[in-house]
């Protein structure tokens, strides 16, 4: 491990100034991802700027929407989140273990790196970690990799559960950076790998996520997260589905469907949403949505099963949310 400096920031401004000033500086929030990456060598910062003391820990309801501080802990336990945004509470609770959830922050969760084995094991080539070295997953064991949005340079999956839920809720992140403040939809935070898989997000160096805003929508309250994995708890998603639904008089007025575990970013299944909107919300419509959700899938040699899993998971998530 290369030596690095450790400093604590006391204001947002200090934090942004400290990281922006040094190309090798990185933020440290809960540390549950960064400490791993530094130890294993996927990250080798010159400085870690600890933002754990910044006053970004609040969950606040404004109007009917919800603002979540970038450092808010155990957001899934917050009563207003559970009541207004069930999909987010379920996704948060489904992630990691109690010990990790006690420390993890929403900002750090959104910016966690892929769990692709070949990214995590530094002995393998990986274009995401070391541009130009190649993608070991394309020819290796790619069971856990992407069926949507990959390229011939990278087929990694983004592992965050809450990013998928937030995408289904039309949520945005608020950032402060060297160039000022901006607002970015969660879905657009992530870049598809294309021929530059190492550029993972649209954030500038030193740009700090300060909060996540979930706007008031007619579909947030009736929402649900279905996570399918290799064991019942404490595992990343093979396939996950976030659904949020506004049905009026039996007809789907509006709907959001986002998929996890299948793409380098939360994957909005727009074709599946279109299959539902304006139609009666019944078994036929749900089956059509499941079928449509697989549109454009490009499975790899070991993850063909994810296509069928997506189809079934979408149908099941839609059936489960119906009763709520």
């Amino acid at each position: 491990m290369k030596p690095f400096a450790y400093t604590r920031a006391h204001t947002v401004w200090d934090a942004v100034a400290a990281v922006s000033a040094e190309p090798g500086a990185r933020y440290l929030a809960g540390g549950t991802e960064m400490v791993n990456l530094v130890r294993e060598g996927q990250e080798s910062p010159d400085r870690l700027v600890d933002i754990g003391d910044l006053p970004l820990t609040e969950v606040r309801v404004h109007g009917r929407g919800v603002r979540i501080g970038a450092l808010a802990k155990r957001v899934h336990e917050h009563p207003e989140v559970r009541r207004r945004l069930p999909v987010l509470a379920e996704a948060g609770l489904s992630a990691a273990s109690p010990q990790v959830r006690n420390v993890a922050t929403p900002g750090g969760n959104l910016l966690q790196r892929t769990r692709c084995h070949y990214f995590r094991d530094v002995r393998f080539p990986c274009n995401r970690r070391e541009p130009g070295t190649g993608c070991a997953a394309l020819r290796g064991v790619n069971r856990n990799n992407a069926i949507f949005g990959g390229s011939e340079h990278c087929v990694a999956v983004h592992p965050s559960d809450i990013a998928v839920a937030l995408t289904a809720l039309d949520a945005v992140v608020h950032t402060h950076g060297p160039a000022g403040e901006r607002v970015i939809p969660v879905e657009e935070l992530y870049r598809l790998p294309g021929d530059e898989p190492n550029r993972e997000t649209v954030l500038d160096h030193g740009e700090l996520i300060v909060a996540i805003d979930v706007p008031p929508t007619p579909f947030a309250a009736r929402s649900h997260y279905l996570k399918l994995r290799d064991r019942a708890s404490f595992a990343f998603a093979l396939v996950s589905v976030a659904v949020a639904l506004d049905v009026r008089a039996g007809v789907t007025h509006d709907v959001r469907i986002a998929l996890g575990g299948v793409a380098p970013r939360p994957w909005r299944a727009r074709a599946a949403e279109d299959a539902l909107r304006g139609r009666r919300f019944d078994d036929d419509a749900r089956a059509a949505a499941g079928e449509a959700a697989t549109t454009g899938a490009k499975p790899l040699p070991h993850n063909e099963f994810k296509v069928e899993l997506v189809r079934r998971a979408v149908v099941r998530a839609l059936s489960e949310v119906e009763g709520r």
């Binding site: 491990m1 030596p3 690095f4 400096a5 450790y6 604590r8 440290l28 809960g30 540390g31 549950t32 960064m34 400490v35 791993n36 530094v38 130890r39 870690l48 600890d50 754990g52 990691a96 273990s97 109690p98 010990q99 990790v100 006690n102 420390v103 708890s233 404490f234």
Partner: protein, 156 residues
């Protein structure tokens, strides 16, 4: 750098700590507290579980500097002198310890569960301990121990 924090009720100060060290390393190698175990060093097994400011965390995922000024309780801090904590006592009695590597983490995680929840259901126990892996016992004896400790706590 110098690190100051409160460990098991005592204020501790250690010098020459390197920022890249984990809290687990500091506890074991610099403070003489080898109770918390280092198994996976990736947050996946829970063997290194300690309380940090009253909540269980994986100490292998906490950078030393993050603990500065905070309170830590390790498995060593649970017994009262020679008197084992009821959770420890139940683990011994029910044979929930085989190689013992997972035990300190499970004791801390169980201790926390029973502080929050009187007589947890089996699914609640399973979810609360999902972050603690054991490769020896098959978990049945561990569940027995947790239930026994919960019963004793509830009547006391």
């Amino acid at each position: 750098m110098r690190l100051r924090c409160e460990v098991n009720g005592e204020s501790r100060e250690v010098d020459d700590v390197w920022p890249g060290e984990s809290l687990l390393y500091v506890l074991r190698e610099r403070m003489g507290l080898p109770g918390s175990k280092n198994a996976c060093e990736q947050g996946e097994c829970g063997s290194c579980t300690v309380y940090l400011d009253g909540v269980p965390v994986c100490s292998c995922l906490v950078a030393a500097g993050q603990a500065e000024g905070h309170e830590v309780t390790t498995v060593e801090g649970l017994a009262e002198g020679e008197q084992l904590d009821p959770v420890q006592q139940a683990f011994v009695e029910k044979g929930a310890v085989q190689c013992g590597f997972c035990t300190p983490g499970l004791i801390v995680a169980t201790h926390d569960l029973l502080e929050r929840r009187e007589r947890p259901s089996d699914p609640e126990i399973r979810e609360a301990l999902a972050g603690n892996l054991c490769r020896c016992t098959g978990y049945e004896k561990i569940l027995d121990a947790v239930r026994l400790a919960a019963d004793r706590k509830a009547v006391s």
